[in-house]
Symmetry: C2
Subunit: 217 residues, 2 copies
């Protein structure tokens, strides 16, 4: 407690030149975001929290949107890291990897609902395919495609374009995450075990299919 206060004061005392203001602003923004939500996130308070004047952020970000984009970008990195760790933790079986990846996605949503919402809320604006943001989200997607290929090699996943399979799976988990944090589902985001079960259930349904016979399309 006392240590935290001292550290805070030290950070604020650092005169004039803040060591790494850009990062400090992103982190402060992240704190405000998860505490009060996106609508309460404003540049002036973020600057206040970082101990600089309200004009200082404009040295590092063109405007408020640019800060939001940086925060969203950080979220994509964190999400990808979590999913990657979950896959590694799952062992060799593609099916188990898929379940763990799904759980990790949902846990991120439950831990940082405002962050996930920001990442997929259009605040960032239409992005060009070259953008870093796009690249990072693509890299999380690449993990999923890897699982699919792996499962096809193991003979446990059906043949077909692994990108299509991945896309279906991502949509399922993403929709589940969004509906969950919007309280649209009969499961409270607070109950971790129930959330895990929900992820498992949905992925299991996707693996098993819901039809009794296969339709031509």
């Amino acid at each position: 407690m006392a240590d935290e206060v001292d550290r805070d004061r030290e950070e604020r005392r650092r005169p004039y030149h803040h060591g790494d203001l850009r990062n400090a602003l992103v982190e402060a923004g992240l704190r405000v975001l998860e505490r009060d939500g996106a609508s309460a996130l404003n540049l002036r308070e973020v600057a206040r929290m970082a101990g600089v004047s309200h004009a200082a952020p404009y040295r590092h970000f063109a405007d408020k949107q640019a800060l939001l984009a940086a925060i969203a970008d950080d979220g994509f990195n964190q999400l990808a890291a979590r999913v990657r760790a979950a896959i590694e933790h799952a062992g060799e079986q593609a099916h188990a990897q898929l379940l763990e990846a799904g759980r990790a996605y949902l846990r991120f949503a439950v831990d940082r609902p405002h962050h996930l919402r920001l990442m997929f809320s259009g605040v960032v604006g239409k992005r060009a395919p070259e953008t870093l943001l796009y690249a990072v989200s693509k890299s999380a997607f690449a993990l999923l495609v890897g699982i699919m290929r792996h499962g096809q090699d193991q003979g446990v996943f059906r043949e077909g374009d692994p990108v299509e399979l991945s896309l279906t799976c991502w949509s399922l988990m993403h929709g589940l995450a969004m509906l969950l944090i919007e309280d649209q589902l009969p499961v409270s985001p607070e109950q971790q075990a129930m959330v895990d079960d929900l992820a498992d259930m949905c992925i299991q349904r996707l693996c098993d299919g819901i039809a009794t016979v296969q339709h031509e399309i």
Copy 2:
């Protein structure tokens, strides 16, 4: 053109007592929303568009959030109506009904991306289960549960809790819709035929399953 101008002027001329200001505000808000997005939606401009002072909306809405909630509510009604019409148009087969419902969901997303985002963006705030909003979204969900039961009766859908099946299906379509309007998918929302195909493909994957063998969970 000239007619529109005349009508607009007539609406604005109506002196002092606006006939149905509440609805006029919701409609004006809807127009601003789809034109410029949620971040550009402000009460003062909406009031301007409705031809009243910036304080007038407070006679009908407690605050800005209440107007946003009303707009979101309208969206849930429109979405449910579209899905209902799609199901009726699909004929008797549960599988066809499911495909058409999915297409309708995705088309709504593509037609009104900002509206869908608002509906599921937490601006409305945590809602109590009794809220109208919740009830309406539940009624759209009820349509889906109906399809599932129907398919089970027809013997084309696997046995199991129809609510679980519906929840999986809704998550899949919702996630697909959100990712699509965020330009996260390799399909442009402008290409209607591609969007329909995407909906079909995902639902087909869910119906068929992706695993070659059924796992215990």
